[in-house]
Each structure stands twice: as structure tokens, then as C-alpha cells.
């Protein structure tokens, strides 16, 4: 199952990035089987305290890549939401699962994937219901968001960010 979310807002509706890539940056590449070329890859237990690790790691990556003002905050908030979804929903009351985070930079676009081996995104009766704000928030903060559930189990949340411009909510001056 693949679900795509288009961002809507003041800048208009934009389709989810189609995965097409321009010329790669001159940087050593770690190539994944799916063609993803991550600069960063983390695999860690899906527990609340590890969300902070992902948050700081991605913040460091944006910092090194020279992200524009606001981009680091957008990325940190979006990955926090995505990882929190894994921690709270992916493994139910059993817990004990893991999450994987990959991040790649290509042509000033940062692509991040947050993956788990959990029970997917089908409705679940048990477990905390959540507030339903996480994915819309990620969609607002990112340039594109793609959700997919693997047949064998597990969910992938892929989001992309421009390193040159924050997609987050802009402050408006009063008249």
C-alpha cells in the first residue's frame, strides 16, 4: 500500500517527489537496494529515549549540509513525529521492536526515511489512539511525504526537505 500526501498551503499544492534524481553530489555513497543513497543510517530500539538521538543526529546532518534558517527545526520536528509514531503505534503493547532511519542529500534535497518492522498502518483497536496530528504536521513541514506499508510487515515514512528553504509556518507581521 502506498499513500501519498501532498502539501497544501500558501505556496500551493505540490506533488510528492517522484524519486527522480539529478546529478549526485560528489560524496561517497552508501547505496541501498532500493536505490536510496544515505549519508546517515541508524538502527535503534524503538523506545522513547531514542527519539532524541534521531532528532539530534538529523539536526547535525542539516547543520553540516548548510541548511537554511528554519530547515533544521522543520527536520527535527518532522522526524520526532515520525519516530514517535513508531514508538507509540508500530509494535503495540508488545514493544521490543526497532526503527531504522536513513537520510540522503541529493541536489540540496534531504530525503529521510523512517522505517519499522511493525504491524503497519491498518486501524488497530488496542493501543493509544493518538491525536492524529503527526502526519499532517510532517506534511506541512516537508516538501513531500510518502507512506508505504510492506506486505511482510512494517511501515516506511519517507519525507523530503529543501535545504535551501524552510517549508514550515512562516511568521506573519501584524498590520
Amino acid at each position: 500500500m502506498i499513500a501519498s500526501v501532498c502539501r497544501t498551503g500558501a505556496r500551493g499544492t505540490r506533488p510528492v517527489k517522484d524519486g527522480g534524481r539529478s546529478t549526485p553530489v560528489a560524496r561517497p555513497k552508501m547505496t541501498e537496494p532500493n536505490g536510496f543513497h544515505p549519508e546517515l543510517r541508524l538502527a535503534l530500539p524503538a523506545v522513547p529515549e531514542n527519539v532524541a538521538i534521531v532528532r539530534h543526529a538529523l539536526g547535525g546532518l542539516v547543520d553540516v549540509m548548510g541548511g537554511a534558517e528554519g530547515v533544521e527545526a522543520d527536520v527535527k520536528l518532522a522526524v520526532t513525529e515520525a519516530c514517535a509514531n513508531v514508538v507509540v503505534h508500530a509494535y503495540g503493547s508488545d514493544g521490543g521492536g526497532s526503527m531504522q532511519i536513513t537520510a540522503a542529500v541529493d541536489d540540496r534535497t534531504l530525503e529521510i526515511a523512517v522505517s519499522d518492522e511493525g504491524r503497519g498502518m491498518a486501524p488497530h483497536i488496542e493501543g493509544p489512539p493518538g491525536h492524529g496530528l503527526g502526519l499532517p504536521l510532517i506534511a506541512t513541514l516537508s516538501r513531500g511525504l510518502e507512506l508505504s506499508t510492506r506486505p511482510e510487515g512494517g511501515t516506511d515514512v519517507r519525507m523530503s526537505f529543501s535545504l535551501d528553504r524552510s517549508e514550515g509556518i512562516e511568521a506573519t507581521g501584524g498590520d
Binding site: 560524496r27 561517497p28 541508524l42 538502527a43 547535525g60 546532518l61 526497532s98
Partner: protein, 145 residues
């Protein structure tokens, strides 16, 4: 399992237990991101503030030489933080590179900075050569002024 194949349970590539598997592009990214992660883990392990600072210095030293060790591949570290102990396992690396990494960051008075900062240093064979570093609660450099 085929000969030479990695065992995820042994090498931590699937985040078994509390292990965190970190794979980073070598260079600036490894230096900055590894330090951020290690800083959090050192705090989580309950190390004192002096020791956390030394863990950060250690992570920066590792990251600074990541390209010399990893080449065009990723720089791989498996980290575990337990009560009073932070363990960093670097690798697998090419044979001889674990010992070489220790000598890449040296100080005229201190010798190998990595050996100086870590409580225990071990070069081990875990389906490939790894460098295992342990940091515990006592500063190796003495109290700071």
C-alpha cells in the same frame, strides 16, 4: 549462515538489545553527527560531566579520521550505553585499521588520544576486525580546573 556472512545479533546491525547502529558518510558528517549521538549516550550512561566531555572529544577524534578508515564506504559504529559504561564498537574495518585508527590522533605528551580517553581498548575479530572502546565514569585526564 554462510561463511563470512554477518550475524546481525553479533554485530548489532539490526539494533539488537539496546545497541544503536550508526552508519555515516565519512568526513564532516561523521565527525558532527557521531559526536552528537555519543554525547547523548554518554549522558544516558550516567557518566560525569568531565567524562561526557571526553566522550565527545573521543567521538570527534574518531569522526575526524573516519575517511582514512572508511574510504568511500560508510563509517560504522555500534554504540551501547549501560549504567556507568559507554561502549563504542567501530567496524568492521580492514585488517590492521583498528590499530591504525588508534595512532591517527596522537598528542606529543599524551600519545594516542583515543587510548588515553578510553578506559579499555580492544581490537577484536567479530566476523571482521573491530575496535572496541569502553568509557566508564572516571575521567582519564584528571579534574578540570
Amino acid at each position: 549462515m554462510a561463511e563470512g556472512e554477518r550475524n546481525p545479533e553479533e554485530d548489532g546491525s539490526q539494533a539488537s538489545g539496546q545497541a544503536i547502529v550508526i552508519e555515516l558518510a565519512p568526513g564532516d558528517i561523521a565527525e558532527v553527527v557521531l559526536a552528537r549521538i555519543v554525547g547523548i549516550l554518554a549522558s544516558r550512561a550516567g557518566l560525569g560531566v568531565d567524562r561526557v566531555t571526553e566522550a565527545l572529544a573521543l567521538a570527534e577524534a574518531l569522526g575526524a579520521h573516519s575517511r582514512e578508515i572508511a574510504g568511500d564506504d560508510h563509517f560504522r559504529v555500534v554504540a551501547t550505553a549501560n549504567n556507568g559504561d559507554l561502549c563504542l564498537t567501530i567496524g568492521p574495518v580492514a585488517t590492521g585499521d583498528a590499530a591504525r585508527l588508534l595512532q591517527l590522533e596522537t598528542h606529543p605528551a599524551l600519545g594516542s588520544v583515543i587510548e588515553r580517553l578510553a578506559d579499555r581498548v580492544e581490537v577484536a575479530d567479530r566476523g571482521g576486525e573491530v575496535l572496541e572502546l569502553h568509557l566508564s565514569g572516571t575521567s582519564k585526564l584528571g579534574p578540570t580546573a
